[in-house]
């Protein structure tokens, strides 16, 4: 069932990319890009409705901009404790990056996995990698060639929040999209 919606999305992106004229879209003037992406915007909405994750227009806008070859502004997804499961909010972010990568075939992406400070450092190194791989796997399912995607782990070594409570831990359990 989930896989089916990925396939639908992948097809939508494929259509979107085809509509943009492949790699040539990158060289097109900004105005042209916007005009082509408007034709795909309704499809993007259908796709997001299927995934059942969208909360507002901002994400639809992100998707539209991504399909037009503009890099999504949200560059992080977060995880539950000791988990690499991708929730609906993260899925929307990953879908936007997939759309962007589909629109910009020359772009490569590094996925950097991180963990919070709880648990041992070496286990967290493994956990960070598992999170990076989970995002990489989803991008692949969305049609992005795995050769364009690298996953690395920093474990708990590079926290973005320095606190020692759930609000800091939540921010630190993350995969960063590094272009």
């Amino acid at each position: 069932m989930k896989n089916f919606s990925y396939i639908v999305l992948a097809l939508i992106f494929a259509v979107g990319v085809a509509a943009c004229g492949g790699g040539a879209a990158v060289q097109e003037p900004l105005v042209d890009e916007q005009s082509t992406s408007s034709s795909g915007s309704s499809s993007a909405e259908t796709g997001t409705a299927d995934s059942g994750s969208m909360t507002g227009e901002s994400i639809n806008e992100q998707m539209q901009m991504a399909m037009a070859g503009e890099r999504p502004t949200k560059l992080r997804v977060h995880f539950e404790f000791d988990s690499s499961a991708i929730d609906s909010e993260s899925r929307a972010v990953i879908e936007a990056h997939a759309a962007y990568l589909a629109a910009r075939p020359d772009v490569r992406l590094n996925l950097e996995g991180h963990a919070d400070e709880r648990g041992t450092r070496e286990y967290n190194l493994a956990l960070g990698e598992r999170r990076g791989q989970a995002v990489r796997r989803m991008l692949r399912l969305l049609g992005i060639n795995s050769e364009r995607l690298a996953a690395r782990s920093y474990g708990e070594e590079n926290p973005v929040a320095t606190g020692h409570d759930e609000s800091a831990w939540r921010l630190n359990r993350r995969v960063e999209f590094v272009y």
Partner: protein, 438 residues
């Protein structure tokens, strides 16, 4: 003579400089044994033109006090100050309520050479328990003091001491140019700290080779974790593992010829054994879960490791040669980063209860788990080579510090830096550089 004096002054000023510039670990005892053995340590007589830079009996007294197993008789209670066998009046020490008495001499034999004698007595039996003579260069005087502490510890408690050892740890300092990580090695009392690696990126999992001459560790370089082996004395460094993905968790085999480590080059974290001579890799685990943090049994037959094959991280044991895998931990939410005591009868590990991480000891014969710490973010435990103390990382006031606890939970110490965090400790094997002369 004048030259010696200049040398001495130079040494002292260098010492002060290094104290203020390099981060020095200070150690405080936070919990002692209920009743320490009362010991009198008489200042040694000093003969020669140059006063030795290291005060041997003071170092011994500080070692013993720090261990929490001894109570030192204050100097004002001394009725006599013997240095030689013939000068000992046992009655004086019974009055001072000392059960044991340590005396000694230090004599300068040549410019840089000292002779140290030491005797230990049982005050009530009026017997000599140990008598040792050392002939060493000035820079070995601290090591001599720690060996004397080890002898006193063993003769009076029946258990070997671990004073003549070193510790490795990682410091993290925030400076004007960003964060600096240092891999440091110091004596077990925090002195003689030297930096063997400095990096802008994190360093973790230092592991001593069985002969104490090298340290394997993980360093992030060029945005990837890599495993290195570095000489402690000559600092020569060898890149051991730099595969795509994780290169982590190095652990020496007891013969020092192989390293167990975690690599994810084949898709996800698995445990491998690398032969350091032939560089041949052998894969020991194969599945879709996390397997990491290997540690060898002292007989070299088994490897224990952390795996989340049952959902949460737990400790498992496998044969180095064959497959047979046995789960060792069942208590708590999770258990990780286990390593053996030198006798192979216990493992120390990080055990999680209700989201808090404590240091535990698991007795292998009956799988009884004893929890030894009550702070919430404890990690990286390792046994002292005598198996009586465990060194680990914890946090005090949000800062990383090291702590040690006796394996019976009765004695505790904290190792702090004046500034910055200290973490990832590893206790060295015994220092065999100096042979005892009995």
């Amino acid at each position: 003579m004048f030259k010696h004096l200049i040398n001495y002054l130079l040494f002292v000023s260098v010492g002060i400089w290094s104290t203020s510039v390099h981060a020095v670990l200070t150690i405080e005892i936070t919990q002692g044994a209920d009743v320490g053995i009362p010991v009198a340590i008489v200042p040694f007589s000093v003969e020669g033109q140059v006063k030795p830079v290291h005060d041997v009996p003071a170092i011994v007294a500080s070692d013993l006090a720090r261990s929490g197993r001894f109570s030192l008789i204050p100097k004002q209670d001394f009725l006599s100050t013997p240095h030689r066998n013939s000068e000992v009046i046992f009655k004086d020490w019974r009055i001072a309520k000392a059960e044991a008495l340590a005396i000694g001499t230090i004599r300068q034999r040549s410019a840089n050479q000292f002779e140290v004698t030491f005797r230990l007595y049982d005050v009530f039996r009026e017997q000599q328990l140990a008598g040792i003579r050392y002939s060493v260069s000035a820079d070995k005087l601290r090591a001599v003091a720690h060996q004397i502490s080890d002898v006193i510890h063993e003769k009076l408690t029946g258990e070997p001491g671990a004073f003549n050892t070193r510790i490795a740890y990682v410091t993290k300092e925030d400076g004007p140019t960003g964060i600096t990580y240092k891999l440091q090695v110091a004596d077990s009392d925090g002195y003689n700290a030297v930096t063997i690696l400095k990096s802008q990126d994190s360093i973790l999992s230092p592991a001593w080779s069985p002969d104490g001459s090298k340290i394997a560790y993980v360093a992030f370089e060029e945005r990837n974790s890599k495993v290195f082996v570095q000489g402690v004395a000559d600092r020569s460094r060898e890149l051991i593992a730099n595969f795509p993905g994780i290169n982590g968790a190095p652990a020496w085999s007891p013969d020092g010829r192989r390293l167990a480590l975690t690599l994810s080059k084949d898709g996800n974290p698995e445990i491998y054994v690398l032969d350091l001579d032939t560089k041949r890799l052998k894969r020991l685990t194969k599945n879709r879960v996390i397997d990491t943090e290997p540690a060898w049994s002292p007989d070299g037959r088994d490897i224990i490791f952390t795996s989340d094959r049952a959902g949460k991280p737990q400790i498992y044991r496998m044969k180095v040669g064959g497959r047979s895998i046995e789960r060792l931990t069942f208590e708590g939410d999770s258990n990780a980063r286990a390593s053996y005591s030198a006798d192979g009868e216990m493992i120390t590990l990080v055990t999680a209860f209700q989201g808090k991480y404590h240091i535990g000891v698991l007795r292998l014969k009956d799988k009884v788990l004893q929890v030894l710490s009550d702070t919430p973010l404890d990690e990286s435990p390792s046994f002292a080579p005598n198996g009586r103390m465990i060194l680990y990382a914890t946090a005090v006031g949000g800062r990383g510090v090291l702590a040690s606890v006796s394996s019976d939970g009765r004695v505790r110490q904290l190792y702090k830096l004046e500034e910055g965090d200290v973490r990832e400790p590893a206790w060295s094997p015994y220092n065999r550089e100096l042979a005892l002369k009995e």
